[in-house]
Symmetry: C2
Subunit: 133 residues, 2 copies
């Protein structure tokens, strides 16, 4: 699969490394060149310095015809906007955005974007460690 | 239950509000006074400004005799240290720490602390949205 990842933080880099190692073609976008240090030394994908809400940046990363798009910068707004660009303009079939704000997560999930909300997910997991143990 | 939460970010505040509303006695610690704005207006627990690795700060929050302890600051080191203080010095029965670094998460889990690693959890969830849909 051809997969675009916007944001090369802990999660973005982990996904990029895993997907690259399992034979996918991965393009990673980040504003900070230093973020790419998190990629494995043998990472064989494409890295592009820039913002994930710039169509030209996304094109350079290989967004046209990509199978999946993952938006995991630290900013909800950037993730939401880039996910919408991927879905509407580039018509990527699988688009997932990390959204920290539970209220906005709910809104965008209803609009058809796969959303992951660490705030609710991690809170629920912590509650289960307290009340299940 | 008496529950101490170190770190009043999105997750800490969400847990504090939920646990407070369900009848628990909650003490929340954060270095930044502004963090407490995330608590509900009717939050009835204790808030203490300070670091979660200071025993006096933890005592002020009600750590002595507490039933559960949750460390969710943005710093892995602070979460690890405060969780160890809670477990060893104050002998809190249920101690949970958020640890972003998967390597350290594994180490401390083996030492008997309940650990939650958002990096691996969220990465796995995102993988499932791509390959299951």
């Amino acid at each position: 699969m051809n997969i675009i990842i916007v944001g090369c933080g802990r999660v973005g880099a982990r996904l990029a490394n895993t997907l690259d190692q399992s034979g996918n073609h991965v393009g990673v976008v980040d504003l900070q060149p230093s973020a790419f240090r998190r990629l494995s030394q043998d990472f064989s994908g494409v890295t592009v310095i820039g913002t994930g809400i710039d169509e030209d940046v996304l094109r350079a990363a290989g967004v046209e015809g990509a199978d999946a798009f993952i938006a995991v910068t630290n900013g909800d707004n950037t993730n939401i906007m880039s996910a919408q660009i991927a879905q509407v303009i580039f018509q990527i079939p699988h688009v997932t955005a990390r959204i920290y704000d539970p209220v906005r997560e709910d809104t965008y999930r209803r609009m058809g974007i796969n959303t992951i909300c660490p705030t609710t997910t991690i809170s629920s997991l912590i509650m289960s460690t307290i009340f299940a143990s």
